[in-house]
């Protein structure tokens, strides 16, 4: 369980040390074990920042984040981040990228091979194992990153717009695969996206984050559709109604 309690965070102005730009103000959120939570919000409202704090890259300024009751004060492979930016190592071939975490954690070669190959084929990258990232398209690189994180079998996944760069077909395929993996391995996932349909399709709950000028609070929707979900639910009237509601809410914040 992840508990965010009264979290405040601001970035320091590099030129003027005293000036700080507040991004998160008194944020509260609990994500249960095995929950799939989607996070929506206008660009620049601080979604990536929250993930970075949960991952342990940034320190909370005030308030705490508890992971199973313990305060997060270090980076761990158990809380894995799929970065919004391209984070695939360009000096390693696809295969080496995917097995990186396993190797860093000292897992035997035979096991590494099995796991890495499994996830490479799962994300549809069989055949390009020996290519360098520079030879891949943007969407392929994103999938390398995804396979690399999944190989490590983290307990919590912090996914920052992982499918943003993908075409609609690949995106839907990967959404379904992610749900399958999640249902099988029981992970906790916090999934940031700009795609409202994606958020409703994937999430147990969808949280909409207000920009700080609107209060910086989270508005949480419960998503009632039962699992396993098929892509057909996107046609469901209730699905469409929720989508409408969320669009309207997000439109309010657009002006910020």
């Amino acid at each position: 369980m992840i508990e965010i309690k009264d979290l405040c965070f601001s970035y320091q102005n590099r030129k003027k040390a005293k000036e700080r730009k507040e991004i998160v103000h008194n944020l509260n959120l609990t994500v249960k074990d095995n929950e799939f939570l989607c996070l929506l919000g206008p660009s620049g409202c601080g979604k990536s920042t929250i993930l970075k704090i949960i991952a342990g890259f940034e320190k909370a300024e005030k308030g705490v984040i508890l992971d199973n009751g313990e305060e997060i004060n270090d980076v761990s492979y158990e809380r894995a981040m799929v970065f919004q930016e391209d984070a695939v190592f360009p000096w390693m071939r696809v295969y080496q990228n995917v097995e990186y975490g396993l190797k860093a954690r000292g897992i035997e070669k035979a096991e590494r091979d099995e796991i890495a190959n499994h996830f490479i084929s799962l994300v549809g990258l069989s055949g390009v194992e020996n290519q360098y990232p520079k030879e891949l398209s943007g969407g392929m690189k994103k999938r390398v990153d995804l396979a690399r994180v999944l190989s490590n079998n983290p307990r919590i996944m912090l996914m920052d717009e992982p499918f943003g760069a993908l075409d609609a077909m690949t995106k839907e395929k990967l959404q379904e695969q992610l749900l399958q993996i999640w249902e099988k391995t029981k992970k906790t996932i916090i999934f940031v996206t700009h795609d409202i349909e994606e958020a409703i399709f994937l999430g147990d709950r969808v949280a909409i984050m207000q920009p700080i000028s609107f209060g910086g609070e989270l508005h949480v929707y419960d998503i009632p559709f039962e699992r396993p979900r098929s892509l057909a639910i996107k046609e469901n009237p209730q699905f469409q109604k929720m989508r409408r509601q969320m669009i309207d809410e997000l439109k309010e914040y657009e002006s910020f």
């Binding site: 190592f89 000096w91 975490g101 860093a104 990232p133 520079k134």
Partner: protein, 260 residues
């Protein structure tokens, strides 16, 4: 326009133009004196008359330069890496580096001779020091300017500091060091010449001084040309190694042709 494959390469063309100009100036029109600029034939004669100790001189200079260069490269890399790896190391060594680095290495030559005598050791040390300065600073800077995301991704996948350095920092900085390594290689020949001018009784630089005492311009030019060849060969070797180590980088070369 169709490009023919077997056109003369531009560098060869440039070389030929220079040669022709040289022959014209020294042998046909004779517009310069022998002492100012001797002809190719004079150079060939000089080379022939110097043949006895030229080989040993070459070997001596090569030994000084190459060992200095390699020692400096290794120590410089290690220093740069250690300064980035350990804050304690940086805090101890950094301040010393800060006020010794601006001292021009060439200015230390006379002191080195007093301290270390006339052997080959001070020369090697001098070359190594010059190379180390360039490589150490560049290594440290390259690491400090790395994109944070690679370090974070590595750490987040379970790597510890040592693994991060081995698998992320070192491969990332290599392409960023090539420029500095080539500059350091070129500098090390210069350092060797300067060191030999004042120190040893062997080597090409020492021979150059001897030629200069007799105002033997062809002899000096022969040695300059030998240095030139050595420097080019070393540079080509480094470039070849670079190509092998950086296959992963985007090799698209920036060009501004066609941009208005």
């Amino acid at each position: 326009m169709i490009k023919t494959k077997n056109r003369i390469p531009p560098s060869l063309l440039a070389f030929l133009v220079l040669m022709v100009a040289w022959v014209l100036a020294t042998m046909v029109f004779k517009v310069v004196t022998y002492t100012f600029l001797p002809s190719p034939v004079d150079l060939a004669e000089a080379l022939w008359s110097m043949r006895k100790n030229l080989l040993s001189a070459c070997l001596a200079s090569l030994r000084i330069t190459m060992s200095g260069f390699l020692i400096g490269l290794t120590v410089g890399l290690l220093m740069g890496l250690l300064m980035a790896y350990s804050k304690a190391f940086m805090d101890t060594v950094g301040p010393f580096m800060e006020f010794t680095r601006p001292i021009p290495v060439f200015a230390l030559i006379p002191l080195f001779m007093i301290w270390f005598g006339l052997g080959i050791l001070p020369q090697v040390f001098l070359v190594a020091l010059g190379v180390m300065g360039i490589i150490g600073v560049q290594t440290y800077e390259a690491i400090k300017n790395m994109p944070l995301i690679y370090i974070r991704a590595s750490q987040n996948l379970g790597a510890n500091k040592k693994t991060i350095f081995k698998t992320v920092v070192i491969p990332y900085i290599i392409p960023h060091l090539v420029g500095a390594i080539r500059v350091a290689a070129a500098t090390s020949w210069g350092l060797d010449v300067a060191a030999e001018f004042m120190g040893v009784q062997i080597g090409l630089g020492y021979n150059m001084i001897v030629q200069q005492m007799y105002l033997n311009t062809p002899g000096i030019m022969v040695i300059v040309l030998i240095y030139c060849c050595f420097a080019i060969i070393l540079d080509k070797i480094i470039a070849a190694i670079e190509r092998r180590l950086t296959v992963w980088t985007d090799r698209a070369v920036v060009t501004f042709e066609g941009i208005k």
